[in-house]
């Protein structure tokens, strides 16, 4: 695994005080928070800085981390030294699982990683796990209460429309006969029903972390992220398609074939339609109790005047149509 320079991640000196570390984290969190940020890789950067802050804000974790020395460089191959963690109250790093642990990590999304092109976020890094035991699925389960897990899963718009499946790797702690705990990975296939929308949650009962002392397991929640589509813009359950039409189709009306998520449909463009006008295909958005609609926004595209015939037609229109597109601009201050 690769060494992580947590000071570098937060952009602070090794001698930085707790206030400086907190300020640096807040500043960076504001910039890279996935709900707010437009920065590329904001999600990955934010996770990195959360992990760094998890260590540097905690005096014990920070002291243990500092014990590794200042000579490590980010990205260097790393293994925890044999005496790692001795003298500190946290334990539970690799090979040390089962020890008393406090100040456990609170990963935003934990316990699941998606395959099949999904984008579920994962736990803190292996580097963190090797030192501090990861964001243990036992974290926060004091008193035997189970802990829910959260993951994010990306689907494209077609998948959101017709439903899909995702294969997820779940990491769960299992108590070994000697009382120690190890993280085991198992795989589940999740059926995502048709009609999921942005931010919607799917609950998988009992697929979270097990409760201590035989308490029921927590649930796994998958938050759906619908990826942007090349043609359709999604808003709630409605989709909008920008649809090019020829001037004569808009002027005279026409029957056209329009792509929808459920396949092409015939649509009538009324005579006298204008560029920007929206037509509605009821119920052609995402399915649901109240299915969404598809809006078809017309875009009148002019044929190029790149041949003598085309130029002649435009000339004829100019001479015969008596058309002034700027008629409503005439008035007080401008005479075009």
């Amino acid at each position: 695994m690769e060494f992580r320079d947590y000071y570098k991640v937060l952009g602070v000196e090794r001698a930085a005080g707790a206030d400086q570390i907190k300020a640096a984290y807040r500043r960076l969190a504001r910039k890279y928070h996935p709900d707010v940020s437009k920065e590329p890789n904001a999600e990955a950067r934010f996770k990195e800085m959360q992990e760094a802050y998890e260590v540097l804000k905690d005096p014990e974790k920070r002291a243990a981390y500092d014990q590794l020395g200042a000579n490590w460089k980010a990205g260097e191959q790393f293994r925890p030294p044999p005496d790692w963690g001795s003298g500190f109250e946290f334990s539970g790093g690799a090979g040390r699982a089962g020890g008393a642990r406090r100040g456990a990590g609170r990963a935003r999304w934990s316990g699941a990683a998606a395959q099949d092109g999904g984008s579920a976020e994962q736990d803190f890094s292996d580097f963190f796990s090797s030192l501090f035991g990861g964001s243990s699925p036992f974290a926060g389960s004091a008193g035997g209460a189970a802990r829910d897990h959260h993951a994010r899963v990306g689907v494209d718009l077609e998948e959101a429309y017709r439903g899909t499946t995702r294969t997820l790797e779940l990491r769960r702690p299992e108590v070994k006969p000697d009382g120690s705990v190890e993280l085991r990975t198992h795989t589940v296939r999740v059926t995502i029903p048709p009609g999921v929308t942005e931010g919607q949650l799917i609950r998988l009962a009992g697929q979270g972390a097990p409760g201590a002392g035989g308490a029921r397991a927590g649930d796994l929640y998958l938050e759906v992220h619908v990826q942007p589509h090349r043609l359709f813009a999604l808003e709630g359950r409605d989709v909008t398609l920008t649809f090019p039409v020829a001037p004569w189709e808009a002027a005279l009306g026409a029957s056209v074939t329009v792509p929808t998520l459920g396949g092409p449909v015939e649509m009538h463009i009324p005579a006298g339609a204008q560029s920007g006008q929206k037509l509605r295909l009821r119920g052609r958005g995402l399915p649901g109790n109240s299915p969404g609609d598809q809006y078809v926004q017309l875009k009148v595209v002019l044929p190029p005047a790149n041949s003598p015939q085309a130029k002649a037609l435009y000339e004829e229109m100019r001479s015969k149509l008596n058309f002034d597109p700027r008629a409503n601009l005439r008035g007080d201050t401008w005479e075009g």
Binding site: A29, R30, H33, T167, L201, A205
Partner: protein, 108 residues
């Protein structure tokens, strides 16, 4: 790695689902006071299913989870997070409109 598990219960939280306030708190990293404050601010419209038993529509979950993350990760308070959410939504709506207009204005 273990084998593929199939057939476990998967439920899409959607229109028509109501979720207890306590569960909402767990799902959205909020405390009950924050949820009540959000109700006062009009961000969510809870119902009292039984005396003292408040429920929130599942359709409010995406917004509440953003608010919960903003509060937890950025240290803002309830009204600040609610305001940020509204501004983020307004920003996204404007961006959506800009994209639509750009498509209308583009050559293809």
């Amino acid at each position: 790695m273990g084998g593929v598990i199939q057939g476990f219960e998967a439920h899409l939280l959607s229109e028509g689902d109501w979720i207890g306030a306590t569960e909402i708190c767990q799902l959205c990293w909020l405390d009950l006071g924050a949820v009540m404050e959000l109700a006062e601010l009009g961000v969510v419209a809870p119902r009292e299913a039984l005396p003292g038993e408040w429920q929130i529509p599942a359709t409010a979950l995406p917004r509440l989870r953003v608010i919960g993350r903003l509060m937890r990760d950025l240290g803002v308070n309830v009204s600040g997070a609610a305001l940020a959410l509204e501004l983020l939504e307004a920003q996204r709506e404007l961006e959506r409109r800009i994209r639509t207009l750009e498509r209308l204005a583009s050559d293809h």
